[in-house]
Symmetry: C2
Subunit: 364 residues, 2 copies
């Protein structure tokens, strides 16, 4: 079986919205396939520009610039989920946009997202919308009057726009403070967080990497370990969940699915990221194909590769000053370093990551 | 042990002379280390430019451009061995040049090269210089009057500037036709060709990849298989030879050492390439570190990584029209594709390569 006739040939150009480290690593993965990358980003400093064939600097609301960008590329993808709906709709009228507008709509709003997961039979934490302070009180009561998390419905990331609340007054105050529509999420009997990074090809084929186990610090992913410590049937269930989501969204590309394992052994969908995902960075050095190449293959209409893991791996994010440890990391024999080329190590800023490889254990 | 104090920090810039596929793959390997790459090349089409931070287009004899280039980089390396001596000398007066001028001098002239190998106790094919047609007759006789190969002393590559000769007249005619100083090489009782790609760090540490077995078509490398079929003591001897060369040249960086295994089990140095080498491309997917990252680490003064292989690998060069097979290759589950972004597939042009991975056999 060969690549389908509609697969983009070497020499074609993939347009990527967003110029951060994910765009950078996508560009690094596209080059060996002979595919050019054209980055579209508003920022002065775009880590992706260094490794891409071209950069267009423009706003996501600049219709003329977006049209010019679309004219120069063969397919459009994105490296962040908060692409404005109007931007995505405009581009989708001009060139194929993959993973697609539907995935963006679902992922951009926590209420829409959780409702969509429930609608396809998947578990989530209990939730209720709280678009204003008044509704926050109703929502708090609806969740049983127990401690909950208030999150903005849109534009939250890395723990930003989140607050834990213990009573209705706190819930109302949090929503008022955020000044934006929110969601209240009930607490789950949290055992651990895992994630599945999976891809769906244009032919509908699905390839899922093994679940990784994630730990956060200060709301930011700190470490992902693959494989996660899971019973085989729970790992299989995680894969099944990812597959159900990919098919429901008629998805093409890589998705990150964050899951909570609760103390009863149930898997609850926390959130989905319609893009390559920080918790999948371990695939760069421990698998037969990285999540970045897999995403490029999917959006270019190429066949996916088997998402086979051949080593155990611990991915550590290098946040802010962590990057000053580069000398020690460079000397670790089993450490694969991935820096993002950012000049300033601000607190909380993702500067790079390191994948530490260990012999394949076969364990799940 | 950490990287040495003089190691170039992330954010530093590596200057590379040459903009071909080797420069491209070096740039792709430098990015994850946070090191920028500045390519210097005279050509309009430079595959390396797409993945590098900066390109200076200039001639290797353009002193002003070379000085400006040197001012913008922290270290200089090269991706081809025919860097003009004056260019290398100029740059070496301004910035560290690694692997260094000495390695270039030895590798650029087949007579100097073979003499240098003999001087450090290594075997080569019998040879004699033939700087003109008259000397070709003397040389032919000196090699015992047996069939031999005439090669230009300088600037030969991929089988260009070579002719097989059976008598003194043919030898003289070949040298006259090439119109340049030549070498006559006696034929060896050829069993197979292998190569060792090895690196020496700034601290003197040597890391050698396992020997690969090479086959050529039309004078161009066609296939490299790792590991080579060798008895353990011969593989060890190949490593020893690479180490002797690296130390004699006070080398910093990756070297390619082509060896003939003769029917008596002796290893003869065919030629050395003071750069990353086509027969080391298999390391990109089958080893804990690629030859490209290893070279960047060496020239940046970083510690080398262990050159450990974890899979068997067959590297196939995609020459000219071979690249039209990309659809089939893209669908092979164990094939890792590496295209060079060249637009025109001329006959004999290296367009890319594919690494096919197989389970680690442990065999030598």
């Amino acid at each position: 079986m060969a690549a389908a006739p509609h697969a983009l040939p070497p020499g074609a150009t993939i347009g990527i919205l967003g110029g951060g480290q994910l765009g950078r690593m996508l560009a690094l993965a596209a080059a060996p396939l002979g595919l050019h990358v054209h980055i579209y980003a508003p920022d002065a400093e775009s880590p992706a520009a260094e490794t891409a064939a071209k950069l267009t600097r423009g706003g996501y609301d600049d219709e003329a610039m977006l049209r010019a960008f679309a004219a120069e590329v063969d397919v459009v993808t994105y490296e962040f989920e908060n692409v404005p709906a109007a931007c995505a709709a405009l581009l989708a009228g001009l060139k194929p946009v993959r993973p697609g507008v539907k995935a963006l709509e679902v992922a951009q709003d926590r209420v829409t997202e959780k409702s969509a997961m429930r609608a396809i039979g998947l578990g989530t934490a209990p939730f209720a919308k709280a678009d204003d302070a008044e509704e926050a009180r109703t929502a708090f009561a609806a969740l049983g009057g127990k401690p909950a998390i208030v999150k903005t419905r849109r534009l939250g990331y890395d723990g930003k726009g989140q607050a834990r609340v213990s009573d209705a007054d706190e819930a109302a105050a949090a929503v008022a403070r955020f000044g934006a529509p929110c969601i209240l999420e009930g607490l789950v009997s949290f055992e651990r967080e895992i994630s599945v990074v999976a891809a769906r090809g244009i032919d509908g084929r699905i390839e899922a990497f093994e679940p990784a186990e994630n730990t956060h610090e200060g709301g930011i992913l700190h470490r992902s370990v693959a494989p996660a410590r899971l019973k085989p049937q729970i790992a299989a269930e995680a894969w099944r969940i990812a597959g159900v989501i990919l098919e429901a969204l008629e998805y093409v590309g890589v998705i990150g699915v964050e899951l909570f394992l609760d103390k009863d052994g149930a898997l609850l969908v926390n959130e989905i990221a319609p893009r390559v995902h920080n918790s999948g960075h371990w695939t760069m050095d421990a698998c037969a194909v990285s999540q970045f190449e897999q995403h490029i293959r999917a959006v270019a209409g190429w066949p996916l590769k088997p998402a086979v893991r051949f080593a155990d791996c611990e991915m550590e994010n290098l946040i802010g000053d962590d990057v000053t440890r580069w000398r020690e990391i460079a000397a670790e024999p089993n450490a694969c370093l991935h820096l993002y080329g950012k000049s300033e190590a601000r607190p909380g800023r993702k500067m790079g990551h390191v994948n530490r490889l260990f012999p394949f254990s076969g364990r799940r």
